[in-house]
């Protein structure tokens, strides 16, 4: 399946992006990478913030290809689109998806069910993804790299 098929399925919508939007998404990713290391925050919350950094980076890659994800299963689509945007490995996508599920579960009855190690694992994953997205943007979409790529 290609991203064009995803549009047919109603999973994505076409939308032109701008260097400003890309730079803004990467700035949020950078902010969240930093904020997720704020001392004193719970591991649950640090994992959440690092996860958001990863999601913003993935959203930037999708936007660069001219798409945005629909509302339904938004996070799932954004994460799985990485295969078609930056050509992310199956292992990276699977790991990111594990954290998506963990985050869903820990939002409700399992508050506190995140270890420091898990928050760090998510942070390392988010950082790796952000770096991959940035490298890919510079190589494949230099026209969108006019702004600050954080």
């Amino acid at each position: 399946m290609t991203l064009r098929d995803w549009v047919q399925n109603g999973w994505l919508a076409e939308q032109q992006t701008t260097p400003d939007e890309i730079s803004n998404l990467l700035r949020i990713a950078q902010r969240d990478l930093s904020d997720s290391q704020t001392p004193g925050l719970s591991a649950d919350w640090r994992l959440n913030i690092a996860y958001n950094a990863a999601l913003q980076a993935a959203t930037a890659a999708l936007a660069a290809q001219g798409y945005r994800a629909g509302r339904e299963a938004h996070h799932l689509r954004v994460i799985h689109s990485l295969e078609h945007t930056i050509g992310a490995s199956g292992s990276l996508i699977t790991r990111l998806d594990y954290f998506r599920k963990k985050r869903n579960a820990s939002g409700y009855e399992l508050s506190g069910a995140t270890s420091d190690q898990e928050a760090k694992e998510m942070l390392a994953l988010a950082r790796k993804l952000r770096d991959e997205v940035r490298t890919w943007l510079i190589a494949k979409h230099p026209e969108l790299c006019g702004g600050d790529l954080a």
């Binding site: 594990y98 963990k102 694992e121």
Partner: protein, 208 residues
């Protein structure tokens, strides 16, 4: 750890193949009723064999046979004097314990303790309840979740994992960390390790 090797032998030694399969289905989903063909299909046994087993278990009052019109359904008998105990045995062995133990086996050398907590451990799990697993060991979250992915498919339930390295677990227990305290004071089912291993990690397992 010897407990993980013993895992699937528990149920195969206690029950014969057909009985194990029937009890796993009926006591593993004690809030549901099943008809003969369903039971035969899930247990992978011939209709005749299953029918004989169902007759024996019904006669002993371990399961209930209900006829609705022309359909006959079987379910776990909640009035059986050992209903709770049987349900617990099934849950700890064929129900989920065996499956989870087998899934974690490739990582067992690096896991000090693995437990199921929450509704599954308390025997209050309903169809669709998640299975909550806590792992203490030198493994990553991604490794554990990936190992458990197959078990999730077999059990037909979401398996949520929380993974602590031994040092972090020890430190959090010493601090009286809220989540760990709740988990360790509630009912738990050991998958790998036991009370002694928890004690060595600085924790008491308070309630049985």
């Amino acid at each position: 750890m010897s407990t993980s090797d013993q895992g699937d032998r528990l149920s195969t030694t206690l029950f014969g193949r057909t009985r194990r399969a029937v009890l796993a289905l009926l006591y593993g989903h004690a809030d549901e009723a099943f008809y003969l063909r369903q039971i035969a299909r899930v247990s992978g046994t011939g209709l005749g064999t299953v029918q004989r087993e169902l007759a024996l278990l019904t006669a002993a009052g371990i399961i209930r046979r209900d006829a609705r019109g022309r359909q006959v359904y079987y379910r776990a008998n909640a009035e059986c004097p050992v209903f709770a105990e049987l349900k617990s045995i099934v849950t700890k062995t064929v129900g989920a314990g065996d499956t989870l133990r087998a899934a974690l086996r490739p990582l067992a050398g690096r896991i000090r303790v693995a437990i199921v907590y929450g509704s599954q451990a308390a025997g209050r799990a309903r169809t669709g309840s998640d299975v909550d697993v806590l792992v203490v060991g030198r493994v990553t979250f991604a490794q554990v979740v990936s190992a458990l992915a197959g078990a999730q498919a077999i059990l037909g339930r979401e398996v949520n994992a929380t993974v602590y390295p031994p040092t972090e677990f020890r430190a959090k227990v010493a601090q009286g960390h809220g989540f760990l305290k709740r988990v360790l004071q509630g009912p738990v089912m050991f998958l790998i390790g036991g009370e002694n291993d928890l004690a060595r990690l600085g924790s008491k397992w308070v309630v049985g």
